[in-house]
Symmetry: C3
Subunit: 309 residues, 3 copies
Amino acid sequence: MSDDSHTDTQSHCCGCADQSAAGPCGPDDLTSIRGRIAQAVRDVRERTPLAQSFTNFVTINLVANAQLAAGGTAAMSFLPDDVIDTASISGADYINVGTLLPFYKDALPQIARAFRKSGHKWVLDPVAAGIGKTRTEILRSFRAAPPTIVRGNASEIIALATMWGLISPDGTSRPAGVESVDDVDAAVEPAKTLATFLAQSAPDARAAVAVSGKVDLVTDGERVYRLPGGSAMMTKITGAGCSLGGVTATYLAVAEPLIAALAASLLFNRAGEIAETKSDGPGTFQAHFLDALWNLAPEQVAGSAIDLR
Amino acid sequence: MSDDSHTDTQSHCCGCADQSAAGPCGPDDLTSIRGRIAQAVRDVRERTPLAQSFTNFVTINLVANAQLAAGGTAAMSFLPDDVIDTASISGADYINVGTLLPFYKDALPQIARAFRKSGHKWVLDPVAAGIGKTRTEILRSFRAAPPTIVRGNASEIIALATMWGLISPDGTSRPAGVESVDDVDAAVEPAKTLATFLAQSAPDARAAVAVSGKVDLVTDGERVYRLPGGSAMMTKITGAGCSLGGVTATYLAVAEPLIAALAASLLFNRAGEIAETKSDGPGTFQAHFLDALWNLAPEQVAGSAIDLR
Amino acid sequence: MSDDSHTDTQSHCCGCADQSAAGPCGPDDLTSIRGRIAQAVRDVRERTPLAQSFTNFVTINLVANAQLAAGGTAAMSFLPDDVIDTASISGADYINVGTLLPFYKDALPQIARAFRKSGHKWVLDPVAAGIGKTRTEILRSFRAAPPTIVRGNASEIIALATMWGLISPDGTSRPAGVESVDDVDAAVEPAKTLATFLAQSAPDARAAVAVSGKVDLVTDGERVYRLPGGSAMMTKITGAGCSLGGVTATYLAVAEPLIAALAASLLFNRAGEIAETKSDGPGTFQAHFLDALWNLAPEQVAGSAIDLR
């Protein structure tokens, strides 16, 4: 155990564990961040935390398998009584608004309110934000009972921040669909604004937003971390983003939001790179990707390139 | 680009691009067909068209992964507002009536009517046609708002054509189940009759029916194309048929119905053969099958045996 | 064909086909058991029986693929009219109470009553027994229309037996979740009591309970069979337990309950061991596991260690 324990409750300037290091943040602060990322990777493997998911039917199997491969355990539920009961033994939850069914319109707001009441941490994946009246109603309702982390592509992050009135619609962003039509760079300010809003709502004032793209972006509302790497093949299997959201919840069960979001994104990028070298196409890629999630050393994950600016 | 472009709107005798070649169709016309098949395979990889699916929960992941491996993109939806919104950015849709839920009884007819109104192209997979009162009601309702392509096994094609009053029940066909109990040959006339009916309902008078079996059969209502090959292992993984339906919708986003149905069936047969040689059982077969969908050259797909009679 | 045919309707002491062998049961009786296990494995491959499933959305694809890899065929349904229609052509059914939707509260009791009325055999997987009001109501309702086999982890078996009033709550067992918190040994008496209750309700007085754990346990209410082996990697993919339940239904379509439960558990343990030696992590493990289900010889399955006490 190091001083960088996930139970650290100090100021999160640059995620620095040492208060005296607060002030202008620079690349040196990354040493602390990296230590806490490695610890989160280790903690999940040692404690096998349960992270429950309410997620879409397309990729639900990969979400569970990725959580298991990262070292956690998985449970998927849709009925509010089931979800709320299971949340009492779950370290964090993951909610993904793909493949909506009619009863979700009432169930999801009810579940979010229950999480807010109990202070339960959760990750939101606003899949296809902007498409469909029902999805818009559900996503709008979360403004009053917000998640701890939002993970999405650039278009989804911009659509959610716009929907919640945190940024003005600039007329340049189109409905998100499930593939991003916006660049990660276009989402920097919306992501920071969204993370700040989430932190203001969080019991411990900590939150994060992760934007997936060619270069992933993670922010706690103050600093922006860019994570290069990964593999283009991750866009050729369905569910790379969803399973990243699920594994983010797994890490959130043992670490603070910024560290959880960074650890999950780094783990996925490294695993994608390894799987690409071992596979001949998307079918074998997925198998090797899960293997790599299982096999990567905490230091390999934490030692990856992080571009802080 | 060749004259065999998918945007060609000429007569579809044998799928010939050249009107002067109309008249008695023969094997020579296959040259034109093959060119357009290769073009469809290329177009999907270059344009990555979105094909949306409303499909069963068993194989929904494989449908999406097969569409991605063929070069397209995927989105799955079930709520009418979600499906109809997404259809506006989707090149074609795929509807599969497996694993019905109660609300589908109203949702699916509503969706089919919306597609008809907007002229949106779609592929129907009448899984288990003949089983269950609800499925029968849903499939019957599609007669008034028919798909562009129907893809199924012989029993399903016969059951659907009978249900729509296009052929007389001969008393020899049993309810379809999910495994065909009828031979592809028994489905030749029902498939032609069904395709003719679909073409009469289509805005551009083009439609197709694909029958999966040991030898696949594709027809536009006039000519019947038999596609030998494939692998018996395709019946030992769940969803080979469903994912073929999904990939047919992917090709339908860039090509006319006959070419889309031929291209998808040929791609699947070739991929099945390659995967069989590389695998030791159904688990590794599925991974290698997706790899082969990704790796096959357009000329390999288009150059396959097509038996025209 | 041997005397140990699955159509044998004699006394099931130790599963002995020979009445004269009844009395104190010992390891020698295992010879008969093994013969019938091998026969069940062969019969499934020769007859490709359909076993229908009503199962959770997380692992529904693996359940179907495992049933196909074992040699059977699969169909998944949720609407009562669909399930009851398909049951007429299905050798046995599998019901798994994970990922509940609202309409299941009425649908599942209705389906169980229909199975009871028609004498249709089915396997229950009481996933997460004890969690959620709706699940508890559904599982309680099955007491009046019980399954032929129950398969679960130790916590789920104890929770179900307690819920049905067959054993007194001892206050030591916690709600099951999807991961067992109880040891298989703690479930021996609850499993025997449960199996005895099931047998009393069965048309032919035969039933079984299978408890999955480090050492699996199968009982017909009289004798307890312990099955060592398997692979720890089976807990690192989602759905090993669910797919075991599905394959148990596949075997139940051709064999009596005790033999079906033993054959499925032994097949899974042997396949897990083979897959572990061939894989580098959970992704490749799953592919090799399905391959092994497909490739294992009946004698390899039946010749495995069985600890009778």
